[in-house]
């Protein structure tokens, strides 16, 4: 029979195949070795069968092979078992730590609760701040090209002041588009306007803009219906928002109607075709609008915009990717100057996503803006977490004396330092987990209140996984850091001295604890003083005499039929109950917008370039506003020449350099007239800026606002009267009443919000600090029980004892206050200097804060000290 190598190998393999210790790979290796040798022998001249036999012989018997392979196999198994053993040991140690940790928590429920409560409140507050910051930072980032979009702005120099504005000349857009290849798109945008939109029998007033054709392609306001490229390309087109479409066509307009092509009448005189419906503009957008109409119409009706001398448009640009902005800014800076003679202005591009946070310009330099608020609150968040952590550390180390026995025994029975540290860290972690859960629950519960205060709309959905992970991370790190010191401290106790009873706490720990309390109260003082300053400033703003009476004053837009029948309207309204006075003006005197620097008068220095605010008004304006005349008179219908005359404010008189400006000539805008009266300075713009020189003139044509002063206490009647007369004279237009003092409050809204938040956080800080102080005080008095007993026996009175016990703590609080005072002073100063008109800082404020801090500390501590002082000395002396 011929020798079959394959068969022979197969036969040889069989016993190996059934052996568990030899894997198929091992067998493959062995077989390969066999074949290699057979080949080598055959090559050397041996016959195949002989070679096979020799190879098998050299390989070794199956029995020896089995023994050797088994040895290796068992070795591997042993190693695996060792690993599993170690793992199970570690996990049971962890379970043990947790069991003891829980037991400790239950035993010391009071301390544990205070600790966890303090930590969770601090964490909850910082979570709120994080949510707020994340919200603020996300403005305008929803645009797909947000990092390529810029707003064109100018620093304009007038006199010795520089004003930064987004109002720029329209020809700038043409120049940017044609001469600068880095600019991919230019979008013209009018300032926000409002218009009356009518469809069928529904009329609504909505806000919107005129916009250039590239609007929907450059910005990301997605269209639900309509084509982004074509939406604004035809004249007489209009794009409306989802919200407006729902108002006109019903909530389910998308399913029922194709609104494209429908007609909307604007301001009761122009018909426009709907060419697009866009999604409601998201909250986090600097641009807000409910309709868009093509820019061409605006340009046709306002040819004055084509001049380089006039500003009045917004321009946005989209740059090609990779264009260096700095370099472009340098090249466009003098675009305006090159094209006209009068003004000196520097053009620059501002990134779209920086507008919301960085919009505060003073004298041509960027000072910050909302970002300052964010920084302040970020600090507050860190402060709060710090205070809570310090609490944690303090309480944990304070309790150490009570755990001394436990630690002593554990060490004596063989626990290593590492294991003790791990034990205490586990306890800290456990508390951190509990505090975190509690904090999240607090956040969810208080979120609606928070939204109301800040005016935001943070939803549960915003608590996304990233936030949760970050929040949990914060909690964990806080616990780790705050827990590590006590862990190390506790683990280093000397067991022998503990068990012998001679253990005394290292004086260093007490010092550290005191230091921590001082730090805590210093931070709290800072927050208290800060809050007080903000509160006082708000009071000041709200109550400051503005120079005009903003209470009981309302306004309505002066439009439609009212403009023609103003005189009749005013006459009739004045006869109605609740109405004191009626007038009109072009602008809100508190806001201002028209300006001129062309004014001249006798004796004016030709080099002077002063900017004046101009208010166009009708008769009785000064009276309706209740501005105070300090010289001369106001406009009167008795004098025909008054149509060219002026009433000025005190600042204007100063600018003119005239002590008695009444009778002086004043000329601008091709109108030469006399100054007939001077009013006391009234605040215009807002309280952040100084009062500017203002001129009031009669201009019956430019009066967009109707002012109505109501009788004090008769506002409801006044409004009813207004509604009646308005409805009679102007039925086509819905009545829209705005209150002057509400508008004022709106302007200062962010400070008010800040005030409320500061109040809340200061309270929280005090609360946490007090919690800590309370716990520490109870611990300290417990430690001194024997001492108190002895003192009582020796005749000390209760009051003596209370003073003695609380003296220590009040001293710490005072030190904290003293340390914080200078820092607080600087911080408050810096804050108040943001306002041109602000409260003054007086020393008594700090004294008050000190007394407050002291009172709080004493109150917190008193419960414990009083209880200790009243205790039965017999029991105290027996105390073990």
């Amino acid at each position: 029979m011929a020798f079959d190598l394959e068969k022979a190998i197969a036969a040889w393999r069989r016993p190996f195949e059934h052996n568990r210790a030899i894997s198929s790979e091992d067998l493959e290796e062995l077989e390969g070795s066999l074949c290699d040798r057979v080949e080598a022998l055959v090559e050397a001249g041996m016959a195949k069968e002989a070679a096979f036999r020799e190879a098998v012989r050299r390989l070794g018997s199956y029995d020896t092979a089995e023994v050797e392979y088994r040895k290796v196999y068992w070795g591997k198994l042993k190693r695996r078992r060792q690993l599993l053993n170690e793992l199970s040991w570690r996990s049971s140690m962890l379970k043990n730590y947790l069991k003891i940790a829980l037991r400790n928590l239950r035993r010391q429920k009071g301390y544990a609760f205070i600790n966890i409560a303090g930590l969770s409140v601090g964490l909850a507050c910082s979570f709120f701040i994080v949510l707020w910051i994340v919200d603020e930072v996300s403005y305008d980032r929803f645009h797909e090209h947000s990092d390529a979009l810029y707003r064109v702005m100018q620093h304009a120099r007038r006199g010795d002041q520089t004003y930064t504005s987004q109002s720029v000349p329209k020809p700038l857009a043409d120049a940017l588009e044609h001469d600068y290849p880095e600019v991919e798109d230019v979008i013209l945008l009018s300032f926000q306007d409002d218009a009356l939109l009518t469809h069928g029998d529904q009329t609504h007033r909505e806000e919107g803009h005129y916009a250039g054709p590239a609007f929907f392609q450059s910005f990301s306001f997605p269209l639900l219906q309509g084509d982004p490229a074509g939406v604004l390309s035809s004249p007489n087109a209009i794009a409306i928002s989802d919200r407006v479409a729902q108002k006109f066509f019903g909530e389910d307009w998308r399913a029922n109607v194709n609104v494209l092509g429908e007609i909307i009448t604007v301001d009761n005189h122009k018909d426009l075709r709907i060419t697009g419906v866009f999604e409601d503009v998201p909250e986090h957008s600097t641009l807000f609008f409910d309709y868009i109409v093509p820019m061409d119409d605006f340009l046709q009706r306002n040819p004055w915009v084509e001049s380089w001398n006039n500003s009045g448009m917004q321009i946005y640009v989209k740059l090609r990717s990779g264009s260096p902005v700095e370099e472009l800014n340098a090249r466009i800076a003098d675009l305006i100057n090159r094209n006209q003679e009068l003004d000196k202005a520097a053009v620059f591009l501002k990134p779209l996503d920086e507008i919301h946070l960085y919009s505060d310009y003073r004298d041509g330099k960027l000072q910050g803006g909302r970002i300052d608020l964010i920084r302040i609150f970020a600090f507050v968040a860190i402060f709060l977490v710090l205070i809570a952590s310090i609490n944690f550390m303090n309480l944990a180390t304070a309790r150490s004396a009570q755990r001394a026995k436990e630690i002593g025994i554990r060490k004596a029975t063989g626990a290593g330092r590492g294991s003790l540290i791990r034990q205490f860290l586990t306890e800290s972690m456990l508390m951190a987990v509990l505090a975190f859960s509690l904090a999240m629950a607090l956040v969810l519960a208080i979120l609606p209140v928070f939204n109301t205060i800040t005016g935001k709309n943070i939803g549960v959905l915003d608590l996304n996984p990233q936030f949760l992970i970050a929040a949990f991370g914060i909690a964990l790190i806080t616990a780790l850091i705050s827990g590590s010191y006590p862990a190390l401290h506790l683990a280093s106790f000397n067991p022998t001295s503990i068990l012998r009873g001679t253990y005394r706490q290292v004086p260093g720990t007490a010092r550290l604890r005191k230091g921590l309390v001082v730090f805590q109260f210093a931070l709290s003082t800072l927050l208290i003083v800060g809050t007080a300053a903000v509160y006082l400033q708000i009071q000041y703003i709200m109550q400051k005499d503005l120079g005009l009476d903003r209470g009981n004053l309302v306004y309505v837009p002066h439009e439609g039929a009212l403009q023609e029948h103003y005189a009749a309207f005013k006459q009739e309204l004045l006869t109605m109950p609740g109405i004191v006075q009626v007038s009109a003006s072009g602008q809100n005197p508190l806001r201002g917008s028209r300006t001129t620097d062309e004014a001249t008068w006798e004796g004016k220095d030709p080099d002077d370039n002063i900017r004046f605010q101009v208010i166009n008004a009708k008769f009785d304006f000064v009276e309706t506003m209740r501005m105070e005349l300090v010289a001369g008179r106001s406009f009167s219908e008795a004098f025909a020449t008054d149509s060219a005359n002026y009433v000025i404010n005190e600042q204007t008189a100063v600018a003119m350099g005239k002590e008695n400006p009444v009778g002086e000539t004043l000329e601008f805008w091709d109108q030469k007239g006399q100054v007939i009266g001077v009013v006391r300075d009234f605040h215009n713009i807002n309280l952040s800026s100084p009062i500017e020189p203002t001129i009031i003139r009669l201009d019956p044509s430019d009066t967009g606002r109707l002012w109505i002063r109501m009788k004090e206490g008769q506002t409801r009647e006044g409004i009813a009267s207004l509604a009646t007369v308005y409805g009679k004279f102007n039925p086509d237009y819905p009545l829209q009443i705005e209150f002057m003092d509400k508008e004022f409050a709106e302007m200062h809204r962010s400070v008010i919000v800040m005030g409320k938040l500061a109040n809340a956080f200061a309270l929280v800080a005090i609360l946490i600090s007090c919690l800590g102080l309370f716990a520490l005080a109870s611990f300290a008095t417990e430690q001194r029980t024997k001492e108190i007993g002895v003192r009582k026996v020796l005749g000390a009175s209760v009051s003596r004892l209370v003073l003695l016990l609380s003296g220590e703590f009040t001293k710490l609080v005072m030190i904290g206050f003293v340390l914080a005072a200078p820092v607080a002073y600087f911080a408050v100063n810096g804050f108040l200097n943001n306002f041109e008109y602000h409260v003054e800082i007086h020393a008594w404020m700090f004294v008050l804060a000190a007394i407050l801090a002291l009172l709080i500390a004493m109150l917190t501590v008193s419960y414990q000290t009083l209880r200790a002082a009243l205790a039965d000395p017999v029991k105290s002396l027996r105390y073990e």
Binding site: E29, R58, G60, S61, T64, E68, Y69, K76
Partner: protein
């Protein structure tokens, strides 16, 4: 033939040393040992491979399967960094023993 103890003790340094000069597979290692000892030492395949596996479990060797041109798979072994360290230790120990024996037997000790 070597005594069992000696054979067992010498396996580790020999294998580590062979692999120190480059990776190799089982059969080649066996051949090398035969060549070096002029046939005096010849190991069974079935004793070599378990040793290789044990050294790999201890982390001194690492292995990878390669396909040869013939199409057959071969398992190649190479020294790890730990393996190099272990080799140095073995070398030191053997040479120490050798020095003592050489003195006792009046031979020249191998230069360490």
């Amino acid at each position: 033939m070597l005594s069992r103890e000696l054979a067992g003790a010498s396996a580790k340094p020999i294998i580590l040393s062979i692999l120190a000069s480059g990776e190799s597979y089982g059969y080649a290692i066996l051949q090398r040992i035969e060549d070096l000892s002029h046939g005096k030492l010849s190991w069974d395949d079935s004793t070599l491979y378990p040793v290789l596996h044990r050294l790999e479990n201890e982390g001194l060797l690492s292995s990878s399967w390669r396909v040869a041109d013939t199409g057959r798979r071969r398992k190649y072994y190479r020294l790890t960094a730990k393996g190099h360290e272990a080799l140095e230790t073995e070398k030191r120990q053997w040479l120490r023993v050798d020095a003592v024996l050489a003195q006792l037997w009046g031979l020249q000790p191998r230069l360490a």
